[in-house]
Structure formats: structure tokens, C-alpha cells
Amino acid sequence: METFLGLDYPTWWFLVIGALFSGYAILDGFDFGAGAWHLFFEKEHSRRVALNAVGPVWDGNEVWLVIGGGALFAGFPVLYATLFSSMYVPFMLFLVCIIFRAISIEFRGKEEMQWWRRTWDIGYSVSSILLAFLLGVILGNVLQGIAIGPQYQYQGAGFFEFLNPYALMTGTTTLALFMVHGAIYLLLKTEGRLFTKLTLLLKKSIIFFMLSFGITTLYTLLYIPHLSDAFKNNSILFAVPLATFFSIANVPRLAKKGKYRGAFFFSCVTIALLLTLVAIELYPTLLFSTVDPTYSIDVYNAAASTKTLRIMMLMVAIGGPLVLGYTYFVYRTFRGKVILDETSY
């Protein structure tokens, strides 16, 4: 198989998609997190400030979802087809929540009536919570493996099969992680009483995250042994969980000192490292078959042709810096604390 810098193309594409998903989780992670906190703020002014903290950027953040989805479709068509059709119900719920969240953000400020704003506040917050949770649920199913039979055909049937104990745990952990991440982002964008309130909420959410992360890890080690194979075979890889641990520990340490930029940096790093762990646990498998391991989907049987992967790598090499450039431009323009004006939501 053709290689580039010593790695074959499917492996490269696995890394590219991993990077895209990490970017997506970091960016949409804080705005889902911020949304999840929304109902905890009681005053109209606080809610407006919190909403406008994500106002100019949420749409740009969702671009990463679109690019990640397209990259998965093009790079690993077999995985895209099997994963999306087997996780039909959670993906449909995810889509409906994405829609509800977007219209809640857009429409909330368009009328003054209290019931109107209250309705969209609930829509915004509940859909943010569900989105974070559903992402975790889908991840949990991927980690655990699903019932894939011959010809990459999903053999499960139940409507709610995706809601199994492990998926509930990963869902909760993801939600908790995004709430920590979102609270730190809001701390960077707010002042006054809202800021003080957020410092308290952040403390609680960090404890909640650590507990649910600990339980999920324990369950993974005990009941899903195939995920730790890579670490057993190569002890150097243990550096990654170690780094993750230190990165997580830095979040409360810096937050306590009021260094929220640093804390935000480490919550971003934590998300990236957790996804690196996922990548190590899975590779080279992408979707483990619980029916028979020979039916599993891996980077080789799922990959598009080498030619396509090479074209796509070129696209990422050209387009990636551009995307980072636009992202930098918009975050720079709206840096600092939120200022409300007549164009705000």
C-alpha cells in the first residue's frame, strides 16, 4: 500500500478526521456547554450576555461538523454508511436538536414578550444539553461496538437500542465535560454577578465531570477489554492517559487562581487528549462488530481509494489554513467581554 511520510493513506486520513473531530468538539463543545448552563442564569440581562457570548461564533463552530461529516463520507464511506444508518434514531434526534438550537438562538431576541423569550431559552438550553449528551451516546456505541453482520449490515433492531448503560455513561461524561468547558468560556466573556455565579457553577461541574469520567473509565477497563489492547501491547502509549490526567488537573488549579485563559487552554487540551485516547483505543478498527470480529469495520476495509484520499489530503492542506484563518479573524474581532449593541441577539 502506498505511503506518505511512512504512514499509509487510510491511517493519515484517520488522523485527519481525528483532528477535525477534535476541532469540532473543542469549538461546538464550549457553545453546547454554554447553552447547557443557560437556564441557570435567572436575569434577562445575564441570559442575553451569555447568548451573545456564543452569538457571533456558533455558526462558524458548526462548520467543523459539516467538514468532519464530509470528510468521513469521502474518506471512509463504508463507516459513514454503516454508522449513520445503524445509529438512525440518535442521529435524527441530533438533527432535530441542531435545528431547535439554531432557531432558539436566532428567534429569541426577535420579540419582547416574556413567554416568547422563556420558550426559546428552554429550547436553547434543552437542545444544547441533548446535543452534548447524544454526541457522547454515539461515541459510547462506537467504543463498545455494535451488531454488524455480513456485508457491513447492522443487525440490531430496537428503537432504543442505542441507549445502553455504557452509552448513558459516555453521554453524561461528555455533557459534564462540555459544561466545564462552556463555563470557562463564559467566564472569559462575562463580568459582574454573572461572572461570580459562573465561578461557583464551574467548581461543581468539575467535580461532577471527574466523578462521571472516573466511573466511565472503570467500566471501560472492566467490561470492554478490547479497548485497552493497544496500551497492553505498547507501554509508551500510557503517556497519553497520564498527560490527560495532568491536563484535567490543571483546569481546577488554574481556575482557582483566576487564570481562566490558562484553564480554557487546558480544557481544550483535555478534549483533544480524550479523543486521542479514543483514537488509540480504536485504531485500526473503526467500528467493532459485536457479532463476529471479522465483520468489524477498520480503516482499510472502510477507506476510499488511495487516489481520493490523496486528493482530499491536498484539499485539507490548502483549505485547513484558510479555515483556521477565518476562525482566527472572527474570534479576534469579537475578543474580550461581551458588549451588547443594536445588532446583538
Partner: protein, 459 residues
């Protein structure tokens, strides 16, 4: 109902709903760039007000376009798994290119376009507006490329057999510039420009009729009328070359569009008609040999008809394809006539004197939208029974792992959510239009207010 038909209904419903919004964003984007450039050049505050006003309406359409678009990207995998595996190499590349080269540009600059009026210099804001507009144009390119490949596959070869067969790219640029891409991209762009332009014409005609914001509306109306006239005429050219392409590459579709059954006789062109599939007859008003003439400039030239194809390779909904296609053309002709007539009245200096003409413009906002929709219905239904023309049948392409109940559940969910979304959209659009182009904070800048204060204070 079975999974296939439910999946098709769901796809048709979600994409038709989605397609209300992106054309509006593209069309409004074009006129916003014009308004804002004029503001920067002339420093005339009126253009600034217009640019800001239409940006607000743009925001409404853009947001809905984005989220309903994400639905489309996911639906290939959820409902059309076999298709996704088959075309992932090609279709997936086009979607990924759209994300990275187009959508990122659009959404990156969107924040500055909407919220950056007071934060960046005017020219940086203009650059952002242009960035968003170009991004939306590029989006259209990649999406139409992906769809055109389904109509006229090129630059690929088939690897594997039976279940494992998949299309792989052999020549990327041949895939991108497949025989129908360029014609269809231009046709879609112009359709989008018309959707935006006629909405703007409609709103400003309404203001003029109601005697509100008259001076600024007349300015906006004239400028946009120029845009509408150029592109409605241009649509004639792109439409003709698209149809030429269909004649060459998808003869069964063309035959369905005109209800032409005879395997290789001269073909008529209908102005309106009704297709009787059973008796292979079309009744209606026709130009005998018209289609032959349009293709070969000869009224007697033979055109491949439906009977040249085996029954199972013909589109099944002949009358629907025929009607959609003809409705699109009728609307296109009407838009040309209306904009030329308006230009003529403008030349005579009587553009704003005829109330019936302005009222016609008010209701015409819907027509380009309808033409865009039915045009796509004709294109997609005319491609049947294939999902990839000549390669993969629609009946083989859907997800085997998904049950009818699941699709029914999601279909009902989308119907409820989209109905709600549409009602809210109409309500808020109406509210913004009623409110008008001036911000409340700029109340004192309104021409009428200025005049009154002027009179009162004796200035």
C-alpha cells in the same frame, strides 16, 4: 408504506424545504454587496441603511439554510447507506470540498457581517460581506457538481461487483467538470439571484405602494430591477444550454419533459399539456417539431423518445415531470416579460405610476421560488429510476438496516419541526418588513421625521 418510498418522501421533503433558503441567501447576498459597495463609494447613508436592512433579512434565511443543510449531509448516510458506500469516493469528496472551501468561508465571515458593523472598518465589513457571498456561490458549485455527477457520471470507474461495487475517481477534474456541471451551476446561480432580487423588488414595491420609505425604496427598486432583468434574460441562455445537455446526455429525461414517446421521430414542444401515459398521448397546445428545432435547428430532426428505452429504464412519473418542467419555463418567461416591461416604463419615466405593476411585483416574490423548486423536481424525477444515471437504481440505494417505522418516525418529526420553522420564518419576515429599514435608534434619521422636525424648528 415501505422503507424506500418513505425514505424518498423524507429526502424530497427535507431538500425541498432546505432549498427555499440557500437561493435566497445567494440572491440577497449579491444585492447586499451592491448596496454596500455603493455606500463605500458614495458615502450615501441610504445605501448603508439598505445594506443593513437586507443583512437582517439575510440572517433569517441563512441560519435556517445552515441547519436544514446539515440534515441533508447526514441523510445520505442514515437513509441511503448503499448509495453512500457506492459513491462515497466521489460524492463525499464534493461534500467535503464544499465544507472546507465554501461553507467555512461563508460562516467564518458571517459573524462579522451580522455583528461587526460597529467593530470593524467599513471596508473590512465589505470584505466580510463579499466573503459570505462568495462562500455561498462556492457552496452552490460543489453541491451542483455532486448532483451533476449523479446525472452525468464522468471521471470514474467501477471497482468490485454486486454488493461490493463502488465508483472510484480516476480523474478528479473530469469528475468536477462532468458534462452537465457548468450549465447547471450557472442555471442554479441565476435562479438564486432571481429569488433574492424578486424578494427585494417585492418588499420595496410594497413600501412604495404604502407610501413608506418611498425615496429609499425607489432607489433600491431601480437598482434591483437592473439585476433582475439581466439575470432573467440570462436564465434563458443557461436554461437552453442545460436542456441541450439533457438532450445529449439524458435523452430519457428530455423525452419525459416534453412527453415525447416516439422512439425516433420529430418531437413537438408544448406550451401546456397533459400526458396520458397509458395511451402514450399528450393533449395540449404545441409547436409541432418545436423540440426538434431547439435541439438541431430543424423541425423534422429525429429526437430519441421514451419508447427507445425499456419500460424499467423510463421515469415513471411522466406527467409530473412534464408539468414541473413546463411550470418552470412559464414562470421564467413571465419574469422576463415583467422585468422588461418594467424597464420600458422606467425608460418612459412612469415606473412608479402604475399601481397594478407594483402590486404584480409584490406577489412575484413567490414565483422564482416556485420555479426553483419545480425545476429541481423535474431534474430529479426525470432522472428516475436511477439515483446515479445508468449506474445505480434508486430502489437499490436505500439503507437496509433502517426499518419503515424509524423512517416514519423521523419523517413525522421533520414535518412537525419544519412546519413550525416555516410559520416562524414567515411571521418574523413579515415583522421585519413591517418594521422597515430603519433601526429604532435611528428614528431621528428617518426622512419624514427629519422633515417634520425641520418644519417644527423652522429649519
Amino acid at each position: 408504506m415501505d422503507v424506500e418510498i418513505l425514505a424518498r418522501i423524507q429526502f424530497a421533503f427535507t431538500i425541498a424545504f432546505h432549498y427555499i433558503y440557500p437561493p435566497l441567501s445567494i440572491g440577497l447576498g449579491l444585492v447586499m454587496v451592491v448596496f454596500e459597495s455603493l455606500y463605500i463609494r458614495t458615502k450615501n447613508e441610504e445605501y448603508h441603511v439598505l445594506a443593513k436592512f437586507w443583512t437582517k433579512i439575510f440572517a433569517l434565511t441563512f441560519g435556517i439554510g445552515v441547519v436544514t443543510g446539515i440534515v441533508m449531509e447526514f441523510e445520505f448516510g442514515t437513509n441511503w447507506a448503499v448509495y453512500s458506500r457506492y459513491v462515497g469516493d466521489i460524492f463525499g469528496s464534493a461534500l467535503a470540498a464544499e465544507g472546507i472551501f465554501a461553507f467555512a468561508l461563508e460562516s467564518g465571515f458571517l459573524g462579522v457581517l451580522l455583528f461587526g458593523w460597529n467593530r470593524v472598518k467599513p471596508w473590512v465589513h465589505l470584505v466580510s460581506t463579499i466573503g459570505v457571498f462568495l462562500g455561498s456561490m462556492f457552496s452552490a458549485i460543489w453541491i451542483v457538481v455532486a448532483n451533476s455527477w449523479q446525472q452525468t457520471p464522468a471521471g470514474y470507474h467501477i471497482v468490485g461487483e454486486g454488493f461490493n461495487a463502488r465508483a472510484e475517481i480516476t480523474d478528479f477534474w473530469a469528475m468536477v467538470f462532468n458534462p452537465s456541471s457548468v450549465d447547471r451551476i450557472l442555471h442554479v446561480w441565476l435562479g438564486a439571484f432571481l429569488a433574492g432580487a424578486f424578494l427585494i423588488l417585492s418588499v420595496h414595491a410594497y413600501y412604495i405602494l404604502k407610501g413608506r420609505f418611498v425615496a429609499i425604496s425607489k432607489k433600491a427598486f431601480k437598482l434591483t430591477l437592473v439585476v433582475a432583468t439581466i439575470f432573467s434574460l440570462g436564465q434563458l441562455v443557461t436554461g437552453h444550454s442545460s436542456a441541450d445537455g439533457v438532450a445529449k446526455n439524458q435523452p430519457a429525461k428530455l423525452a419525459a419533459m416534453e412527453g415525447h414517446f416516439d422512439a425516433s421521430g420529430p418531437a413537438d414542444m408544448y406550451l401546456l399539456g397533459w400526458v396520458d401515459k397509458q395511451n402514450q398521448e399528450v393533449t395540449g397546445l404545441k409547436i409541432p417539431g418545436g423540440l426538434s428545432f431547439l435541439i438541431d435547428y430543424d423541425f423534422e430532426a429525429p429526437v430519441t423518445g421514451l419508447n427507445a428505452f425499456p419500460e424499467e429504464d423510463r421515469p415513471s412519473q411522466l406527467n409530473a415531470v412534464f408539468q414541473f418542467y413546463h411550470l418552470m419555463i412559464t414562470i421564467g418567461m413571465f419574469l422576463i416579460a415583467l422585468s422588461l416591461y418594467a424597464c420600458f416604463q422606467w425608460w418612459r419615466g412612469k415606473l412608479f405610476d402604475k399601481r397594478w405593476l407594483l402590486w404584480t411585483f409584490v406577489v412575484t416574490a413567490f414565483l422564482p421560488q416556485i420555479a426553483n423548486q419545480v425545476g429541481w423536481f423535474a431534474a430529479e424525477m426525470g432522472r428516475q429510476p436511477w439515483v446515479v444515471y445508468g449506474l445505480l437504481r434508486t430502489s437499490d440505494a436505500f439503507s437496509q438496516a433502517v426499518s419503515a417505522n424509524q423512517v416514519l418516525f423521523s419523517l413525522i418529526l421533520f414535518m412537525v419541526v419544519y412546519t413550525l420553522l416555516f410559520l416562524l420564518f414567515v411571521y418574523l419576515l413579515n415583522k421585519k418588513i413591517k418594521h422597515g429599514p430603519y433601526d429604532d435608534s435611528e428614528e431621528s434619521d428617518r426622512p419624514l421625521t427629519k422633515e417634520i422636525t425641520g418644519v417644527l424648528t423652522g429649519n
